[in-house]
Amino acid sequence: MTGQSLPLLATLGWRNLWRHPRRTLVILFAIVLGVWFMIFSAALMIGIVEQQLQDTIFNLTGHAQIHNPKFRDDPAIEHSMPAPNQALLEVLNSRDVVQWSARVRLPAVAMSVRESRGVMLVGIDPQRERGLSFIGEPVVEGRALESISDNGIIIGRRMAEKLETRIGQRIVIMSQDRDKEVADRGFRIVGLFQAELEATETAYVFAGLATTQKLLGMGSDISEISLVTNSREGLDPLVARLSNAAPELESMSWQELEPLVVTAMEFYEAFMVYWYLIIFAAMGIGLTNTMLMSVFERTREIGLFQALGMRPRFIVGQVLMETLILLVIGITIGNLAGWLTTDVLLASGIDLSAFAQGTEQFNMASTMYLTLRPNDLLQINALVIALGLLASLYPAVKAARYVPVEAITRT
């Protein structure tokens, strides 16, 4: 096959397709629908995973954390860590880190006049939590904490319901101090926060970092440092730098901190490939059938091609070119439809608030956002073209194997 022959292949392929416009349009529709559905389902799946990841990162995890090595197994006050030293501060204040914050995070009991609940008491620097975690966002009721010495406390909206309390009322926070003695104090509720998940609203209460350290007699010690970086790809080198700066502490990326999320992402990635194959199987059968019909109908013509000296590989190329044209048109329209659906029509997400309780069960937010990644598009398009050509290889080879004298006399 020479370069000169490619225009001939393309001309024959294009015109042959329109010999039976209805049949071509039907298979084209199937390809468009298949490609669109692959793109839509990929965007939906990736959207769910990405959102879960974002929620996880925003839910006090960050992209990386630094702890006392024993803190994750036993988040007790004796497993606190000192405030960051100069070497650590240099890395934390480097260009790669967008925001970082030191926290105290210890188990406690919150008591109102009517109820008591086990909670995680989190001492924060409210200025540093902005852009780092959900508690840096405005509260839904009342006010946010103003400084590390703020005497107020912020609790979740759902927690307020459970404790049967409200803004302005006092609750008592009780925990264990550095000397293993009970430490407690009353806090006035100054704000209520809302989180994507109800579980978050009942899990955490937030007080000023210095106020918490003082309550628990921790001095300047903290439980953890959480940070977000400007590039997830550059996270591993950053974590390595943190480990070098503070070898006695444990620096971990979100992948190590949240292995379940990583597993879920890997599962979704693997699932998507199988999902694509299932969708393609339906499309591929139609494609093979169409090309077989096309080849059978043109047996005599293919015999003529052979008689005129068309080589077998050129005949294979001719059938494949027809398929390729179909696939390219189908993929182009399918991609356009996929982009319109994910980035235009559903750009503001799919509202599932009517099923909020159900989505909560699956750790999903009430609004699902679709995420279209260039890599997924490439993967889908490459898969459809490769498998599409594979599906039409059988009709193509069949055509190339015709015996010229039999084919040309076929009526």
Partner: protein, 228 residues
Amino acid sequence: MSTVSLRKVCKTFGEGELAVHALRDIDMDIGKGDFVCLSGPSGSGKTTLLNMVGGLDRATSGEIIVADQRVDQMDKGQLAEMRLTTIGFIFQAYNLIPVLTARENVEFVMQLQGIPADVRHRKSREILEEVGLSGLDDRKPAELSGGQQQRVAVARALVSEPALILADEPTANLDSVTAENLMDLLRHLNDEHGITFVISTHDKLVMSHARRLLKMHDGKIIDDIQQR
């Protein structure tokens, strides 16, 4: 020097009691620039013989040489190459490619040969003019009459200047006037270009145009007549 040479060529379809001997020990030589008609009743082996010479089918035994190439020893790819470069075909049922225009049909073989577009366009324009179809270049086969279609087929067979043109009942679907015109054209092209023609027919009109007439019966050549 022979353009086509056959030695003891046999073709048998089927086996055992059901075997049909389509060709029996054919010996034949056709010289360069000859204009030969194979005549005979249906089933005499004319078309089978053409198919063997053209490499469209394989002989059961015997030796076939076309333009100094052993056709009987070629594989599928070599046969395709030989048909592309050495032989032009004209079939009974015109056999044009329906999705291509007259000009594109004529250029088809040249395109397979990898001839540049400007050369193809010039040659196709000249040959269409020579067969009396200038101005009809952009018509699809369905927009042409039977005679015009057969002229396009002739132009296609001729344009790449093959050593041999094989025509299988080329006038079978044409009325007598169109058939006469076509045969005049083929003889004219034979005279002008010196291309060897082998035509199978049972049409007396076609036979009357032949320089040499080979009569076939039951798979054998029974007569070899030089005409004019």
